[in-house]
Amino acid sequence: MTLSTLLEHEDNWPTRLGYASVQDGTVSLRGHDLLNALEDLSWMDMLMFGITGRRFSSEQLELFQGLWKISASYPEPRLWNNRIAALAGNARSSAGLSLGAAIAASDATIYGQRPMIGAFDFLQRARAACGGGQTLQSFVARELEVYRGIPGYGRPLRSVDERLAPAERLARKLGLWGGPHAQLSIAVAEILRTRRMGMNVAAIAAGLCADQGLTSREYYRLTLLAFTAGLIHCEFDAATHAEGTLFPLRCERLHYSGPASRGW
């Protein structure tokens, strides 16, 4: 990683992803003619093919999109990323700026991408540790000791997660239930039962997707669109309400605790 790296990449971007030719209009995705040879590729198939370079079955693709729907796209403007989208719509911003801002904020810690990636990564490490002879019990105990929490277990607003049963039903319907990571996610829930850290949908979704052979970096890219339906719905709904009417606050609802009034 030195100056020579820059010299080498001047006007030079070698890639295995693809390209669009300005000369002849060809669009190539991983070596395939996107516009003419990949007509049967659904949009979700294309999304995952571009991310991973691999093709997935229609059941797997349905699982991925179904988990977006179940786990993340709520029509609820109080949730923090949805709230950003709704505030933008209600302040008469553009829908694209609104969605962009809200997606950026979905890289959150108490909800959103961090618990999703974290749960995925935790299950993969747990599986590796168990494969290496460690007990799940001791792996979980160490994780709690070092990090104080386990992503995918515990939830900000509600302790029971209403999305677990629908996620399981979806996976069973598609014949994708029962893989090792999904089973592990439930075994961890059993261990944590006494600790008031209820399993949330991030854990089961991570388990189900890990069972489809994704890496954690691939899973992160898959989850990026998980919230978008709810974000778009909340923005559009707020855009049709009278401007500036979403959660107005009186001055007195600022609860000030700083220094007393003083002169400069």
Binding site: L3, L6, D11, N12, Y19, A20, S21, V22, Q23, T26, S28, E76, P77, R78, W80, N81, R83, I84, L87, A88, N90, A91, R92, S93, S94, A95, G96, L97, S98, G100, A101, A102, A104, A105, S106, D107, A108, T109, I110, Y111, G112, R114, P156, L157, A239, E243, G244, L246, F247, P248, L249, C251, R253, L254
Partner: protein, 272 residues
Amino acid sequence: MTSDAAPRQEVIRTSIWQEEPEPDNPFAAAVCRCRGYDVYGELLGKASFIEYLCLLFLGERPTQVQAKLLEILAIALANPGPRDASVHAAMSAGVGGSPAASALMAALGVGAGGLGGGREVRVAMEAWEQLGCNLSDWEAFLRHPPHAERADIWPEMEHAPGFDPHAVRCATPVAQTLDTLAACGAGPHLPWLAGQRLTLESAAGAPLAMSGVAAATCRDLGLSAEQGEMLYLLLRLPGAAVHALEQAQLGFKRFPFFHGAVKYVGQQPDNE
């Protein structure tokens, strides 16, 4: 396996920024000149930040009056306060533990709009460009705002640009800012606005807003509508930044969730 023809050396054209490379590294600048001034060799420690900001936007070292205008405008806009939608959005990113950059992006995405945001300043400045300081033209414009024929990413303005549709009277901070700016010796827009405020408010059916003061100030600074929009977006971010940091510390449990506020009034739920 090239997707296109042989490379040619494309360049970035700019009248803002000039660099001289280090002798041993063509990708590292030894000297950076902003509109002719050596930034790191001379401006640093000599110019004020506000002067430098003027230089970036205006292209020239500012007059004393220009620097004063921008200094006052920057303070007036820096913190719209936590009740403002853009700051509310930044704090929403903060309490969720979202990245710092996303808090500022949220403030921008929300604060870009037609209600108190960058869009409003731009539309107001376009009105200044067209109407100047002609009172009867302004009154006609405010009473019968033009309608766009074509659809756009921006919704149509729903109130007179630069005025506050929800307020009953010009808020004291807005009036104080306008007075302070109008007394700086700039013109012609700020003094004219200060003098005609009541008449314009009557035509608009709403009191002057901070966005309207900002638009007039940017006009007196000599900025285009596009520049004014951009500057306004930029100057409103510090408050979003510090309030997002503060709420991130306090956590989502101490932040309003508006329990009870969302009321479903549509079709009755199915009995499924």
